[in-house]
């Protein structure tokens, strides 16, 4: 039984890890080796050319060809700015309104909560054109502000619902006790309730962050040069006159993926507690 389980787990892990492994190995392969048959798993010649191509592209033809800086670093910066700001906003607003929804009697509370949830029900493809037209009119097209607002709103419903769930788990007697001890409700929230939701906040932030970081459709339509994020940038490089250079795509994707992996790894303890909040305590 135990052996069977172990084999099963190894199998599942292999299935999940393989694409990642293939991406990593491809990023270090030459164009020829990526397509070689039988596929080369380990015995290939390591090259860093793909990574160089991510940051420096070739401009010009033949003997006029020279390396110029690519748009990738700028895209990475754009992605970071938009992701960090929108995640901060979504989590802050989600925490505050999650607390309010959990504690106060708000007229039409369940309708409001459902409305908030419903903002996520339409697929991106359906609303991207109306949003594009609105953004053009409002001057939000191709701005950080526009993208931050968009991703904040997108993550807000998730964030509110998650944080309301975490707040519901905390007995209201904590604020009551703190208020009797001589504090205002806001002080009680800040000193007693908030520290108890750090795990939940971490979990919510990771999910919001990943969503904003990976988002493609809106980024493709609503940004251009100045604010273009990484996903449309990588996708834009796939189709070139010279054909798809999978090595470069793999290298760019790897660089793109790294921050998410590192961040998730750093908060994994909180994450596990946050996700299992209320089921496995402590």
């Amino acid at each position: 039984m135990k052996i069977f389980l172990t084999i099963l787990i190894i199998l599942i892990v292999a299935i999940y890890i393989f694409p990642l492994f293939w991406m990593v190995s491809s990023s270090f392969k030459t164009r020829v080796e990526i397509f070689s048959m039988p596929p080369k798993f380990f015995n290939f010649e390591v090259t860093f050319k793909n990574f160089r191509r991510v940051f420096y592209k070739i401009a010009g033809w033949g003997k006029f060809a020279k390396e110029v800086p690519s748009e990738f670093p700028r895209a990475l910066l754009n992605s970071s700015i938009i992701t960090i700001l929108s995640t901060l906003l979504a989590v802050t607003l989600g925490t505050l309104s999650g607390y309010a929804f959990s504690r106060f009697e708000i007229p039409g509370k369940s309708d409001l909560l459902f409305f908030i949830l419903s903002t996520r029900m339409l697929p991106a493809m359906v609303i991207v054109v109306p949003v594009f037209i609105m953004y053009k009119t409002l001057g939000l097209f191709n701005t950080y502000l526009g993208m931050v607002i968009l991703y904040t709103v997108f993550n807000l419903s998730f964030s509110v619902w998650m944080m309301k769930g975490f707040m519901d788990e905390i007995p209201k007697e904590y604020e009551e006790a703190a208020m009797c001890d001589g504090y205002t409700r806001f002080q009680a929230f800040r000193k007693i309730i908030l520290p108890q939701t750090y795990a939940g906040i971490a979990a919510t932030a990771v999910f919001c962050g990943i969503m904003a970081w990976n988002e493609y459709v809106f980024a493709l339509i609503l940004t251009s040069e100045e604010t273009k994020t990484v996903p449309p940038t990588i996708a834009g490089n796939v189709l070139k006159t010279t054909g798809v250079n999978w090595g470069e795509v793999a290298a760019a994707s790897l660089i793109f993926l790294a921050p998410v992996l590192i961040f998730t790894f750093l908060v994994r303890k909180h994450l596990l507690r946050g996700v299992t909040f209320g089921t496995i305590k402590g």
């Binding site: 904590y174 009551e176 006790a177 009797c180 001589g182 205002t184």
Partner: protein
């Protein structure tokens, strides 16, 4: 100067009326215990007193000032919660210091430190000061919760069953300790419990609450000897009160219970009306038995010993008279054997209530 008064206070939750037009007054320095079964509205009463809940009707007065809508922080009351509610992100020491650090009070660090140490010593938790609250035992948590109230000198201490999770020995120790603290600092205590022994051992006065209504207010002695309803008499009795319905028929009392046809009952109560039903009750400790019939025996048939329980310092004997089961409690080992036939008589008080048990009827 800290009195607490409720005038016609009603608190509802959606369709539940947790407390219903409650009136009482606690004088400065008094130790008042609110006693009632689970769901009676005890916690709700305390939370209204603290300002955590705002009542739908009525007024709350602290020191004769209306405070019904005053924020808890400004009422200057200390609250010990039923489920401890220790702040999990703080050590025991920080928990104890938290009320003192409020900006409302403005106490300097040194004084805070000194107070925390003194209270920790009083409650025997000095060795826990630097621990986090998560791994403390129930008893330790409860003492920290008490400590968080005792570090202050509030206008009134509100305590919601603060001793319920302690083991028997520690509970008795803490009862004595709390009484001592009360005597020493002379503050007003409003203490809630569902344990009548606890109430009797600590209270100057007891308020008995049932289904959100006050059944009786009085000293422990008044409550014990003069219960105003069947509920009160039964609630402060262990083992449970003996009671059954009787009916007066042409001057004779007949037991009106299933399986007791034509069982007459020898009671001296001339003021009761003919043809009406009453509830007759007496405490297990007021039931006596003898081998011989005398003219003051309760029934005109002997009772059979049905169950015998030896509880160490005292015994409980259950008698069966037709369909009635009646308990006797006496000190020492059991004085009868199962199957024995004995004559029952009353040795002390009995109480007669109207048919519903809500009102005492004077004999």
């Amino acid at each position: 100067m800290s009195s607490l008064e409720f005038k016609n206070v009603t608190k509802r939750f959606k369709n539940v009326t947790a407390i219903d037009r409650i009136n009482f007054r606690i004088e400065h320095g008094e130790f008042v215990v609110m006693l009632g079964p689970t769901g009676a509205g005890k916690t709700t009463t305390l939370k209204v007193a603290a300002g955590i809940y705002h009542p739908e009707e009525g007024e709350v007065y602290l020191d004769d000032h209306p405070v019904t809508h005053v924020h808890p922080a400004l009422r200057d009351v200390a609250f010990v919660f039923q489920n401890y509610i220790l702040y999990p992100n703080m050590t025991v020491e920080e928990n104890l210091a938290f009320p003192l650090k409020s900006r409302l009070r403005n106490i300097d660090e040194e004084k805070i430190d000194e107070t925390v140490k003194r209270v920790a010593k009083l409650l025997h938790i000095e060795h826990l000061l630097h621990r986090t609250t998560e791994r403390l035992s129930g008893g330790e948590q409860q003492r920290v919760a008490l400590g968080r109230a005792l570090v202050r000198k509030p206008r009134i201490f509100l305590m919601d069953e603060p001793l319920s999770n302690l083991d028997a020995k520690l509970r008795e120790e803490m009862r004595t300790e709390l009484k001592r603290i009360h005597r020493e600092i002379g503050e007003t205590f409003f203490f809630v419990t569902h344990d009548y022994v606890e109430a009797f051992s600590m209270a100057d006065r007891i308020i008995i609450l049932n289904h959100g209504k006050i059944e009786q207010i009085g000293t422990p002695d008044e409550i014990y000897t003069n219960p105003s309803s069947l509920f009160v008499a039964n609630f402060v009795s262990s083992p449970p009160l003996n009671y059954f319905t009787i009916k007066k028929e042409s001057g004779v009392f007949v037991v009106d219970e299933e399986g007791c046809e034509s069982l007459t009952c020898n009671i001296k109560a001339d003021t009761l009306q003919d043809g009406k039903r009453y509830i007759f009750s007496f405490r297990p400790e007021n039931l006596a038995s003898s081998l011989k019939k005398s003219d003051d025996t309760l029934f005109d048939v002997p009772a059979e010993v049905y169950v015998v329980e030896d509880l160490g310092t005292y015994s409980v004997i259950t008698f069966k008279v037709n369909g009635l089961l009646l308990r006797q409690k006496h000190l020492g080992p059991p004085s009868a054997k199962i199957g024995e036939k004995l004559w029952l008589k009353l040795d002390g008080n009995f109480f007669i209530f109207d048919e519903t048990g809500k009102k005492r009827v004077r004999e």
